[in-house]
């Protein structure tokens, strides 16, 4: 019993409160977004808001179960959990149901579960367990390769389910590896390569090349203008340009049309042609029309008219922007940032490498979802359909994020026992 008292005392209550606040605000926003006069009770289980309430209750039950589990369980069973999830991902490819173009769901009765949501949690555990080993050293190539393998394997399986959004999330583990000692240059180069690749495919190569030239010009202003530096810069520019040209060439000339088309689908480009641009415009109108204080609860006209699609899931932030305005948006963004920084601070106070790496994994995943999702609704990032943590409608993502977060809180509550 002493142990349990300790647990409550050691639990990081600020994080728990932010978690509860975000979940609650998400629920209210979903109510607003899909509000239907015929079923006006927020507890109506036939509606998404009623269901979300059910998912929230279950999420809290899951959080309790996690808190009651022995903290050592998670490090000891990190790899079994990881492999179990890999098997489930293969299973979903073979036996899964296709919803909204992604073959990433298990349909059980009227209820659909998306294993890819849980894959992020499993990967964070496995990566933490691996880097927690004494001989792991990210400045070594071997360690880097194994770590990348742990990350890429589930990502590829998810990509094969045509769930590109969820697969892209795994790139964020580069932050974790950076924190654990991987060279910053690798991170930057990888980042630039990804940005160039996506930019080349999303826009015309001419624009990308012009962009590169502009960057080159800007860089010239900032570096010390030694001949060696300038040569290095020109070298970089040439490599980048060659990369862009070859991506474009491969994409448009080497690949067969059906292969190009498949990549387009994977990148969400082909559905984009059908109206992602439209979604973003509608989303911006909705958010923009919110003004400083917003239109108030249930008064969002743009969103009420169902003109913002996917509003209770990927575009849920629209409702916040429209009904609670700049002030409301600021609060939500503030809560996320506070939670993220809190998790980083907590990760740094861990005594075991496993707990620290895992904490960074959690922060990175939450950050990526936060950045991509809100960035997309306000038109800063291309449309990649991934949910806003704790906020968006959906059981799978809510449960996966809850388990992920509370496992870390459990590890943190236990940290003083690890000596």
């Amino acid at each position: 019993m002493r142990n349990n008292n300790n647990l409550l005392a050691n639990l990081d209550w600020p994080t728990v409160l932010i978690f509860l606040a975000l979940t609650f605000m998400g629920w209210v926003s979903i109510y607003s977004a899909v509000f239907d006069e015929e079923y006006s009770s927020i507890f109506d289980l036939s509606q998404r808001y009623g269901k979300q309430m059910l998912w929230i209750v279950l999420a809290i039950v899951l959080a309790f179960i996690v808190m009651l589990t022995d903290a050592k369980f998670f490090s000891a069973f990190a790899f079994p959990i990881y492999f179990l999830i890999l098997i489930v991902l293969v299973g979903v490819l073979l036996f899964g149901a296709t919803i909204a173009g992604s073959k990433s769901w298990f349909q059980i009765g009227g209820f659909a579960l998306q294993p890819s949501e849980f894959a992020k949690f499993g990967t964070a555990l496995a990566l933490a367990a691996y880097l927690g080993r004494l001989n792991a050293d990210l400045s070594q190539l071997k360690t880097r390769l194994v770590a990348i393998g742990i990350i890429v394997l589930p990502a590829l399986l998810i990509l094969a389910q045509y769930d590109t959004g969820s697969a892209i999330v795994f790139t964020v583990f580069v932050l974790v590896m950076y924190r654990e000692g991987m060279s910053g240059a690798i991170m930057i180069i990888a980042l630039i390569a990804v940005v160039l690749f996506i930019a080349t495919i999303y826009t015309q190569q001419v624009y990308v090349l012009i962009g590169l030239l502009v960057l080159f010009g800007v860089a010239l202003l900032f570096i010390k203008r030694h001949i060696i530096n300038i040569m290095k810069l020109i070298g970089l520019l040439l490599i980048a340009a060659a990369f862009v040209l070859s991506v474009d060439y491969v994409f448009h000339s080497v690949l067969e049309p059906h292969q190009t088309s498949r990549i387009n689908v994977l990148l969400g480009l082909e559905t984009d042609l059908k109206g992602a641009g439209y979604n973003v415009n509608q989303s911006k109108i909705a958010i923009g029309s919110g003004g400083f204080f917003g239109k108030g609860f249930l008064n969002g006209t743009q969103t009420k008219y169902n003109f913002v699609p996917e509003q209770s899931t990927d575009f849920i932030f629209c409702t916040v922007g429209e009904e609670y305005g700049f002030a409301g948006s600021l609060i939500v963004i503030g809560l996320y940032l506070t939670m993220l920084i809190r998790i980083i601070t907590m990760a740094e106070r861990q005594r075991s490498v496993f707990s620290r790496v895992y904490g960074y994994g959690v922060a990175s995943i939450l950050f990526f979802h936060f950045a991509i999702n809100i960035g997309m609704t306000i038109g800063l990032v291309p449309v990649i359909g991934i949910p806003l943590p704790f906020f968006s409608y959906g059981g799978s993502s809510l449960w996966a994020f809850t388990i992920m977060l509370f496992v870390f809180l459990r590890l943190d509550a236990y940290r003083l026992n690890t000596l």
Partner: protein
């Protein structure tokens, strides 16, 4: 414990997090505070999202004649939440409705949604629209939305063209393109080519002030999308021939199907009784639909594709081909006939005996085809009669019998080719040629649709092949039509056997005993076959199938007139008049035409009942 070398990197990561946060706040500040275009000057102003409905694609016949076009109409929309105190009396006077209707409609709209606009009064005419629109600014919450309605310049081909109606919940669930109140093709071409014909909806965002007046487009139309008009369809149909067919069939129950054998295009598809397609347009659609549904003559049924009949003597041609192909007979095989005392099937025609194949077709001798059928089934090439039957059955399917063509004609029925298993079941395994003898003369379990009969005669005219009968000729500016429509199908019969059967069909017109010798078309070389189908429920059905010109047929036709008696008496005249009209553009046999046009079986039947 490892050394914690890189702890300072947490700052960089936190910096990245914060940078993104600041970027977001900046962008939100721009969207929500600085950029005023997203906000509206007064809190009462609203953005009105107006769906821009595209014009549905028109439909033309093979000669470019319009079959369907569009006419503007306007739906009066209401958003209940925006409706203010208003002069209801004045409003009702304007719309020519009473107050009860007003409250009923308003309540209906409110139950549908208070926030979303729904239709208050559908399809206001152009004249009323102009008058009402002028005064509408007194009534916030109401506005007009332009729609189009289908119009048919000539009231023909209702079943083929199909109709357009409001989407139901199932349509909305299946395809997110549709919203409540949208129109969708419900039957016929409208339904099959819905995706091509519907076009693409556009969206116009208009700023509206407190007085319900449009203040111009939002952000100079930056977020508007233009509607894309639907694609036009060109049908293989010949409007003039279709009209003529409908006139000839007036007062009769049955159908006419004419196919171009060289392409499978349907030139005319008449079902009678029919209805005026203008009845199923707009506000009156559902009430008229229910009326048509209740009529005892069942005008909504397309008998040409979903009426199934025993083909009667017209089926002898197919049995002859199977017999030749399987070696059961040769063209010179003779069988004798004892006329009315023939057994087991009596022959209703008096003629010479015995006869070889060609004259047997010309005379439509039942005895000959009973013997032929017996020989098919007792073929020594097969181990058993049932194996021989199975070959017969397979060849039947190769003619397109027993299954729908599955082209662009909705609600097509498959007809019936009885299978070996079926007979095994019915007769507990013990059956023989005698048991299933009715099939010899196209009676019994074999059922064909008039479309399949027309295709049968197209196959014979083509000497062995067909293209699946279809309605479409061209979509839009020449989008390719379904390639399966233009795929040549061969029957299982060796093409060399068609010659003799085809020639015998000429004798049906030309021969001294030809069953259609009184229906010859002057100057046109044709082939045909009569059929008189026993009908346990009344008078026999009159059938005729034919093709012309003889060498390279341009038209293959089947005619069924229910409860009308001999094939030569009603079906043959109608078929030949149709062919004459199509091939020469004119009809010289005015007397015959007059007789057919004036014949009204349905009225006579009614008169008898009274």
């Amino acid at each position: 414990m490892k050394k914690n070398l890189y702890a300072t990197r947490q700052n960089i990561i936190i910096f990245i997090f914060l940078a993104i946060g600041v970027l977001f706040v900046g962008k939100l500040f721009y969207l929500q505070i600085i950029n005023t275009s997203y906000k509206l000057s007064s809190q009462n102003n609203v953005l009105r999202y107006m769906t821009q409905f595209p014009a549905r694609g028109k439909m033309f016949d093979r000669n470019g004649k319009v079959l369907v076009y569009n006419e503007s109409a306007y739906d009066l929309m209401v958003t209940p939440k925006l409706v203010k105190q208003m002069d209801t009396l004045e409003f009702c006077r304007l719309l020519k409705i009473d107050r009860q209707a007003f409250y009923a409609r308003f309540k209906k709209a409110s139950t549908h949604s208070r926030h979303r606009a729904s239709i208050f009064l559908e399809q206001v005419s152009k004249e009323d629209y102009a008058y009402i629109a002028e005064k509408l600014y007194h009534f916030p919450g109401f506005y007009f939305q332009a729609r189009t309605l289908r119009k048919y310049p000539s009231p023909i081909a209702a079943h083929i063209l199909g109709d357009v109606g409001e989407v139901n919940q199932k349509n909305i669930d299946n395809d997110h393109y549709y919203k409540s109140g949208d129109y969708i093709g419900k039957s016929g071409m409208e339904r099959h080519y819905e995706e091509a014909v519907r076009g693409k909806k556009g969206l116009k965002i208009v700023m509206v002030d407190v007085y319900n007046r449009a203040k111009g487009s939002f952000e100079n139309g930056r977020y508007d999308t233009l509607p894309v008009a639907g694609k036009d369809l060109v049908l293989g149909l010949d409007a003039a021939l279709q009209l003529y067919g409908e006139e000839l069939m007036h007062g009769k129950t049955g159908s006419v199907v004419a196919i171009d054998p060289s392409s499978g295009e349907i030139i005319a598809l008449v079902t009678s009784p029919g209805y005026d397609p203008n009845l199923l347009v707009g506000r009156v659609r559902s009430s008229n639909y229910n009326k048509l549904l209740e009529q005892p003559e069942k005008p909504l049924i397309n008998r040409a594709i979903s009426g199934t009949y025993p083909p009667g003597s017209t089926f002898k041609l197919v049995n002859a081909l199977v017999a030749l192909h399987t070696g059961a007979i040769t063209p010179s095989t003779q069988f004798s006939c004892q006329g009315k005392s023939s057994s087991p099937i009596k022959c209703t025609h008096s003629h010479q005996s015995p006869l070889p194949l060609a004259p047997a077709i010309e005379n439509s001798c039942n005895s000959y085809f009973w013997n032929t059928f017996r020989c098919i089934l007792n073929n020594h090439r097969h181990r058993s009669l049932k194996d021989a039957y199975e070959e017969w059955q397979t060849l039947m399917f190769s003619f397109g019998f027993g299954k729908p063509f599955n082209t662009d004609i909705p609600f097509e029925l498959p007809g019936n080719v009885p299978t070996r298993d079926y007979f095994d079941k019915v007769y507990q395994g013990s059956w023989n040629a005698m048991t299933v003898r009715s099939l010899a003369i196209g009676q019994g379990e074999i059922l064909l649709t008039p479309l399949q009969m027309a295709n049968e005669v197209a196959i014979i005219g083509n000497k062995g092949f067909y293209y699946p009968p279809h309605l479409i000729r061209k979509i839009g500016d020449g989008d390719s039509i379904d390639p399966s429509f233009t795929t040549k199908h061969y029957t299982g019969i060796d093409p060399q056997h068609f010659e003799v059967v085809k020639n015998a069909m000429r004798d049906v017109f030309e021969g001294a005993h030809g069953t259609a010798r009184y229906n010859k078309i002057e100057g046109i070389d044709a082939g045909g076959k009569t059929g008189t189908v026993q009908n346990p429920h009344g008078e026999d059905h009159s059938l005729f199938i034919a093709f012309a010109p003889f060498d390279v047929p341009k038209i293959a036709i089947s005619v069924v007139v229910e409860n009308a008696g001999y094939g030569s008496q009603w079906a043959a005249p109608i078929a030949t008049l149709m062919m004459e009209k199509y091939l020469t553009g004119d009809v010289k046999r005015k007397e015959l035409e007059e007789k057919i046009l004036n014949k009204n079986f349905n009225e006579e039947a009614n008169a008898e009942q009274q």
